[in-house]
Point group: C2
Chain length 193, copies 2
DNA sequence: ATCAAAATCCTTAGTTCTTGCCATGCCAGA
DNA sequence: TCTGGCATGGCAAGAACTAAGGATTTTGAT
């Protein structure tokens, strides 16, 4: 028995996410958010409580999206190696085609806030283990079918792979040189042979 | 014909570096710096001009220190593999023994400021190529002596190695679990065989 | 030796702008 | 009609930086 919201919450959240992603938590002011979200200051505070809550919601939004993408690939790929290759290309194209060079929002949050912010830490830890588990499952399947070299522990390989991705997500802040990333990807994937 | 400085500029710069390293550029206020550096506000501004200049000087200071450490290892190691192993242990122990979990100051700067700050970008690019060159030299020597597998391009291997280090420097913000890092290091180094 | 000048030191206060957040009041819709 | 979204203006604190004033230490000229 009250007025309905004029805006789409998810849509606005996505805009907030883009700003935080691009400029970081401390680098983004509430005024900037007000200017870019298309809603008023009061609506912003009514809907998302305060700056920190808005950031947390943005981070969770981003994390869910990227996990779903990975899940899809893992579920639909025909082979383990293809799955991993697809995951790599998914992430790198996302990194390299962004002319703002925002990198990865989770890595950004991890570097800027993880040591100081328990809530951020919790989300990133959850993300970490989810991604790791997805990779472990894929790798184990590949090892059972003989597609992937069996000599290393699957979890160790998963951590190794994910670590390489993290490195590239940092480098994407500085360069978009494809040759640079191809060098890294080629050798990283060679471990699976 | 004037009074000499009472404090050691490098020492104070190191304190500033520690603050920026721990809390980032936007997360550190001038008031905090005044409180922790042991010199007065006016001395701070007289000596280092402004906040941004102080940050740049801190970054250059850090970059020079870490490069010198790497140079020493590269120059004194008896073999290529030993050099790389030493570089890895140098960096990881530095990362894992820090109870503040500051990570790597260059990676932190790259993530927080590189897309927005041309001066920071320049310093990090220089660092990038210097480290890469050190690694290339070590790897080439190892390949010539047959100690390192020759099948891959030396620069590609260098980029791969450095990329793995970057990944770990991000993860160090969240965890200090040695088993986690050992998994990554073991597989990363296996590429050299 | 003495004194003036220059450069450093510190304290304190102030300026200006931005920060995150809130209180009031109006208005739309169930 | 009355709940809740929306717009406006404002507030207290914090941001970076500056200015004023006095004390101290070094140098060079007298």
């Amino acid at each position: 028995m009250a007025r309905t919201k004029d805006f789409d919450e998810a849509e606005v959240l996505n805009k907030a996410l883009c700003l935080f992603w691009h400029k970081g938590y401390n680098g983004t002011s509430m005024q900037e958010l007000v200017d870019h979200l298309g809603i008023s200051r009061s609506s912003l505070y009514d809907t998302y409580a305060d700056k920190h809550s808005l950031y947390i919601k943005s981070l969770e939004f981003y994390q869910n999206n990227s996990r779903h993408k990975m899940d899809d690939i893992a579920a639909n790929a025909t082979s383990a190696k293809e799955a991993i290759t697809q995951l790599f290309t998914l992430m790198t194209t996302e990194l390299l085609t962004d002319d703002q060079q925002k990198g990865c929002f989770i890595v950004n949050s991890e570097v800027e806030l993880a040591p100081h912010d328990p809530e951020v830490r919790l989300i990133i830890r959850r993300n970490e283990s989810q991604i790791e588990d997805i990779l472990v499952a894929v790798i184990q399947k590949g090892q059972e079918s003989g597609e992937i070299a069996n000599k290393q522990d699957a979890r160790a390989i998963a951590r190794f792979i994910f670590n390489a991705v993290k490195g590239m997500r940092v480098s994407a802040k500085l360069t978009t040189d494809k040759a640079f990333f191809n060098d890294i990807i080629k050798i990283t994937l060679s471990v699976l042979d």
